[in-house]
Structures are given as C-alpha cells and as structure tokens.
Symmetry: C2
C-alpha cells in the first residue's frame, strides 16, 4: 500500500487525489472536533470554507460551529473546541462547521475517491479504514495558514506506523516526507502531550486557555470513529 | 538563536534571507561534494545554475564539475561524486560546479548576509560557524526537483541538535518543521547509513552504482571544513 504524506494544504494539488483515499489531518483542532461530534451522535458535519456559506447552508435545527484564528465566530453556537461538541449538545443534530485550515483541507480533497478525517484520537481506526478502502492513500497535514504544523505531521507518522503494524513493514510504502514524519512520531511517542505543547499551535492554544483541548487531542486511539465525506457532509464510516 | 528550517528550495523566498545566515544542505551530494573539494585544497567552488554558464565561466586551469539527474555532464572533468574531488585532482584549482538542486539552492540564497554549505560530514562545524555569525539562521533543505528529501531533513535536524548542544536547549528556537526534523534525526541517528539507503535518493544512488558516495555522505562530523560564499564562489570559512 502506498501512502504519500503532504506537509500543508497549499502543497496539495487536487488533481493528484483522483481515485485515491485522502486522510485530512488537523489535530488542533478541526478533525479532532469532527471526530468528537460524530462520536457523540451528531448526524453529520458539513465542512464549509466561509462564514457566509455556513450561514446560508444552516437550516432549522442545525448548529453552527467554527473559528477564525482560534476564536468562536460571533452568532455561532460553538467554537472549534471538541469539548463543546458533547452528546447533550449534538446528538441527532447536523453541524455546519467552518475553520481556518481543516475544513479547507476537506474541501480541497473532494476530487478523491473517499475523504476521511484523521487525528491522534482515531489514528488506528482511520488506518484500518484506509486499508479497507484498498486505494493509494494521501495524508494531507492541514497545517496553519499554509505553514507546516508539527502535531499534524506527528499524527501522519502515527497513522503510517499503525498501517505498518497491520500490513507489515514491507507493505507500507511512503514518500521521504512520510518517512520523516514517522521518525518524528516515533521519537515523540512517549511524550506526545509535551510535544504538542511545545509546538506553535499548542503554545498558542495553551495561552488562549485551551489546555484541556490540547490534552484531549493528544490522546491516542481513544475512539474507533472515522468520519467520511458523503456528498457534502462528514458522517460515520461504516465497513 | 532562531533557526528556521525550510523543506525545499522552491519554498524558500529569497527576500526572507535578508540579514540572515543561510545554510544550504544537499547531502546527496552537492554540499557534501563542495565540502570535500575545499577540504582537499581546492581554491574555490563556483556554483552555477546551468551547463552553459559553467562553460562560459571556466578559465584556463579551472575544472568543470557537475551532474544532471545523477549523471556526469559530457565534456566535464568530474561528475558530482565527492570521491572524485581528491587532493590530487583539485588542490590549488578552482572548480565550476553545476548540479540539479544544491547549486540552485546556493544561487537562491545570495541575498543572505552569509551563505554556508552544510552536510552530515560537517554538521558540527557548520553549527559552530552559524553561532559564530550571530544572525538569525535559515537551513534550506535542497530537496530533489522541488520535493523534500529525507537525508537533507535529517541533516537539518542534526545541525539543530549540535546548536542545542552548544548553546543549551532554551537558546535553540526553531519552527515546527525544524522540530520535526530534529525528531526525525534523533530517531535515525544510530542507523544513518541504513536510513539514507532507504530514502528515495539513497535507493537511486545505490542502484546507479554510487553506494560508496552514500557511505561517505552518511558519516557525521568527519571534517571541520565549512564552505562560505564569497562573491561568486564557495571558499573555506575562517573565524
């Protein structure tokens, strides 16, 4: 199985996704939030690029979620903290979500055969889903404003590691960037929270009062839930 | 000291190099070759972008070196193997060098305050020189045809590690990509040759009969020689 890892959304060329499985990774926090919402019974998360589009799409009973530069958008029900997307808040509801990077990554990947959402919390499950789909796979690290983010790279490395553990080393082929990310993950695996708190986004989130979010997002394989894009919304992937 | 690591030449914006020290890294093989040539008494290495420019610049007594896609250029004295640049071959001579990636990286960095050449073989020495120059520093991984190359990333990680060892951890600040490269280096440090042979360029070079080059380029801190760009040529950096 061939898995290419891409450092940022802006490096991703959407034509290269044709006939492939794309895993979008935005650990802090968009994909961690989408996974958490679906895990808590949300019907579907609709990722959109702009605030205006989010408001246009919202129908009676929908929830609006999202952030710009880590801050909740005025008039929205939620920000982009996974802790807000509790069962009480989202069960049976649809969420329209717009974030600075992660939802853009999903939008850019729509030419892919299937688009999955990955994070540290569902790394093994998303690895299994990608194997199950039997396609060449691209892991897109969302990054931040077109700059590489360490937490996304480490998550890509973990997903590669999970795939290699399932298929065997010789069956997991990746590009040089993927090899580097896997090395970076292996070096950091015993102190992931500290590593996330030392990188640009982690420092920023801690400073903005979101330490609990970083703690949640730094946990590995806490859920089997894998979001997959069906038409315009992320829903639970079913084998 | 702030050290930014950039994944490929095409990501480097030359205006961002103003007033900074730039370390260009092309482990396989341009910077390893330039270091080896100067170590062996070569007067200076002139990096140029094109074959035509190399031929135009060559004066009586100069040597022409370079490659395109790993192969020696017809009519040139040498290819891009550091093993060719022996003391017998280069002492007292000037070399005009053109390679696919590394010399392009040096050309792109000319707006910097100083341009140094780094590789695994001189990592500690180039770290010391960068500290000595007391500027914000950018490590440019040359990559291959605008794609990230693992060996350059690992070398960047080693240079960061050397700087942290000299200045102390709290005095070495880097970007998320730098943190990832340092992790990747630390994970691979006890089997660097195997790691280089597992990445795209290493595999290609072994297949093309250049295993001895990879072996030479995978050795760490075998020389104190640091090339620095003076006007149009790389010469030995003197403190």
């Amino acid at each position: 199985m061939h898995i290419e890892v891409i450092a940022t959304i802006c490096e991703a060329r959407s034509d290269e996704f044709l006939h492939k499985t794309v895993i979008v990774v935005d650990v802090l926090r968009a994909t961690s939030t989408i996974i958490t919402a679906l895990m808590n019974g949300c019907k579907g998360v609709v990722p959109v690029e702009t605030v205006i589009k989010a408001k246009e799409l919202a129908r009676e009973g929908d929830l609006l979620g999202g952030e710009r530069y880590c801050k909740k958008i005025p008039g929205f029900d939620f920000g982009n903290s996974p802790l807000e997307y509790s069962r009480e808040a989202v069960q049976g509801k649809r969420v329209i979500l717009t974030t600075t990077n992660g939802t853009r990554g999903i939008q850019k990947a729509t030419k892919a055969d299937r688009v999955l959402a990955g994070a540290l919390i569902n790394a093994k499950a998303v690895a299994e889903a990608a194997i199950d789909l039997k396609r060449d796979t691209v892991i897109v690290c969302a990054g931040t404003q077109d700059v590489f983010s360490l937490e996304d790279g480490i998550c890509a490395g973990l997903i590669l590691d999970e795939i290699a553990a399932i298929l065997g080393e010789s069956q997991m082929m990746t590009n040089d960037f993927g090899l580097a990310m896997r090395g970076s993950y292996l070096e950091a695996k015993d102190r992931l929270l500290a590593t996330l708190l030392a990188c640009t986004n982690g420092k920023k989130m801690k400073k903005s009062g979101f330490l609990a979010d970083v703690e949640l997002c730094a946990k590995v394989n806490t859920t089997d839930c894998v979001p997959v894009l069906e038409h315009d919304q992320m829903v639970l992937y079913q084998r």
